[in-house]
C-alpha cells in the first residue's frame, strides 16, 4: 500500500515537473528584459522588410504598398485630419469654467509631449495614457469627461500628436515590478488569440503585415501606435487608440472591453515601448 502511494506521488510529481518543463520555454523563467525584447521586435520587422528605413514603419499600410503610398503622399498635402487638429488647438487653449486650461495640466503646456505617453504612474501603480490624462485634467477642473473614442478626445489628441511630429517615442519602464508587469500583460494581450475568429493582434500585424485582409493592406505592429489618433476613411472621421482597439476586438468577433480598461492601456504601453526611437507621425490618415 505504502509503495503504491509513494510510487503514485513520485509519478505525479515527475509529471508535474515535466509539465513545468514544457510550459516554461527557455529563458521565460528569467526576469523579463524589455530592452532585449524591443530590439528583437524591431529586428523581426527590419529583417522582414529590408528595403524600409526604421521611420517608414510609422506609416503603416502606406509603407507596405506602392500604390497606396502614392495616393497617401498626395493626400497628405490636404489631409483629412486637418479639421481635427484645428479644432483640437482651439479647444486646448479655451479656458474651462474655472479659468484654467489644458496647458495647466501638462508639462511644457502640453506642447511636444505626446511621445512620452503612455507612462507608468508609480504612485497609482498603473499605466496612464494621454487620453486618460486629458480626462483627468477635465475632471480636476470641474468639467465632465469626454468619450474616449472620438470627437473632442480625438481632436485634442490629434493636436497634441501634431505638436510632437517627428519626435521619437520615449516610453519609460521605471524600475518597479508593477511597471514590468504592465508591460508583460500588454505583451500577453497582444499575442493572445481572441474572438470567434481566433485572431491575436499578432496574427495580422506580426504574421501578415503587407498582406491583405479582404481589401485592406495590413500594417506592421512596429510603429502602429505612432500615427494615433487616426482619421479612418472607414469611419469617415477621427478615432482614438481606444476606438481602434475596440473595433479590432469586434472585427474578430470578440466583445470589446471598455475604453481605457487595464488590458487596453497595457497593450498600448507595450506597443509604444517597443517602438521607442521611431518618430511620432500622428495624427494619421488610414483607409
Amino acid at each position: 500500500m505504502m509503495k503504491l502511494r509513494t510510487a503514485t506521488r513520485f509519478g505525479l510529481s515527475a509529471l508535474a515537473l515535466a509539465a513545468l518543463a514544457f510550459a516554461w520555454p527557455a529563458g521565460a523563467a528569467d526576469k523579463v528584459d524589455p530592452v532585449a525584447e524591443a530590439k528583437a521586435f524591431k529586428k523581426f520587422f527590419y529583417d522582414k522588410f529590408p528595403k524600409l528605413k526604421p521611420e517608414d514603419f510609422v506609416n503603416g499600410p502606406y509603407s507596405m504598398d506602392e500604390g497606396l503610398h502614392k495616393q497617401w503622399v498626395e493626400k497628405e498635402q490636404f489631409p483629412p485630419y486637418e479639421f481635427a487638429v484645428e479644432a483640437g488647438k482651439e479647444m486646448f487653449t479655451k479656458p474651462f469654467k474655472n479659468g484654467k486650461t489644458y496647458e495647466d495640466c501638462f508639462p511644457n503646456k502640453g506642447i511636444g509631449i505626446r511621445q512620452n505617453y503612455p507612462y507608468f504612474d508609480e504612485k497609482e501603480g498603473k499605466v496612464i495614457t494621454l487620453e486618460l490624462a486629458l480626462n483627468r485634467c477635465r475632471e480636476a477642473n470641474g468639467e465632465a469627461p469626454y468619450s474616449y473614442v472620438k470627437d473632442e478626445m480625438a481632436s485634442l489628441t490629434a493636436y497634441m500628436a501634431f505638436t510632437s511630429r517627428g519626435k521619437p517615442f520615449d516610453i519609460k519602464i521605471p524600475d518597479d515590478p508593477r511597471a514590468l508587469e504592465a508591460y508583460e500583460k500588454g505583451k500577453e494581450y497582444f499575442y493572445t488569440r481572441r474572438g470567434q475568429l481566433n485572431f491575436a493582434c499578432a496574427t495580422c500585424h506580426v504574421q501578415s503585415p503587407g498582406e491583405r485582409i479582404r481589401t485592406e493592406v495590413l500594417a506592421p505592429a512596429l510603429g502602429i501606435m505612432n500615427a494615433m489618433p487616426i482619421y479612418r476613411s472607414e469611419w469617415s472621421g477621427m478615432g482614438t487608440t481606444s476606438r481602434r482597439y475596440m473595433t479590432c476586438n469586434s472585427q474578430t468577433r470578440g466583445v470589446p472591453l471598455n475604453p481605457q480598461d487595464d488590458e487596453y492601456r497595457n497593450v498600448e504601453y507595450y506597443l509604444s515601448y517597443v517602438a521607442n526611437g521611431l518618430p511620432i507621425s500622428g495624427p494619421g490618415a488610414r483607409p
Binding site: F44, Y191, Q196, N198, V255
Partner: protein, 99 residues
C-alpha cells in the same frame, strides 16, 4: 485551438427530435448565460455568443421553443469554446511571441 472546429461541428450536427417547451428553453438559456458569464470573467466573450442568445430569446418570444432551445444550446457551446480559448491561450500565446 484545434478542438474549436470539432466542438462547433459536433454541435451543428445535433438536432432535437422532441418538441421543446418553455421550461426546456429556460434551462438551456440559463446554462448558456452561466457559461457566457464565466467567459466574461475571463474577459473573453464572443459577439456571436451574444447574438445567438438574442436569437434564442427572440424565438422563445415567438413561441418557437424548438428553435429557441437549439439556439440556446449553440450559444452555450460558443460560450464554452470562448472559455476554452481564454484558458488555453494563457500558455499558448507565447508561441506567437517574437523572440
Amino acid at each position: 485551438m484545434r478542438m474549436l472546429p470539432v466542438l462547433l461541428a459536433a454541435l451543428l450536427t445535433t438536432s432535437c427530435a422532441f418538441a421543446a417547451n418553455e421550461a426546456d428553453y429556460k434551462a438551456a438559456y440559463a446554462a448558456a448565460e452561466v457559461a457566457n458569464s464565466e467567459a466574461g470573467k475571463l474577459r473573453n466573450q464572443w459577439t456571436t455568443t451574444a447574438a445567438m442568445l438574442g436569437a434564442a430569446k427572440k424565438a422563445a418570444d415567438a413561441g418557437d421553443f424548438d428553435k429557441a432551445v437549439a439556439a440556446a444550446q449553440e450559444a452555450e457551446a460558443l460560450a464554452k469554446a470562448s472559455i476554452y480559448q481564454a484558458t488555453s491561450e494563457k500558455t499558448l500565446w507565447k508561441e506567437m511571441e517574437i523572440r
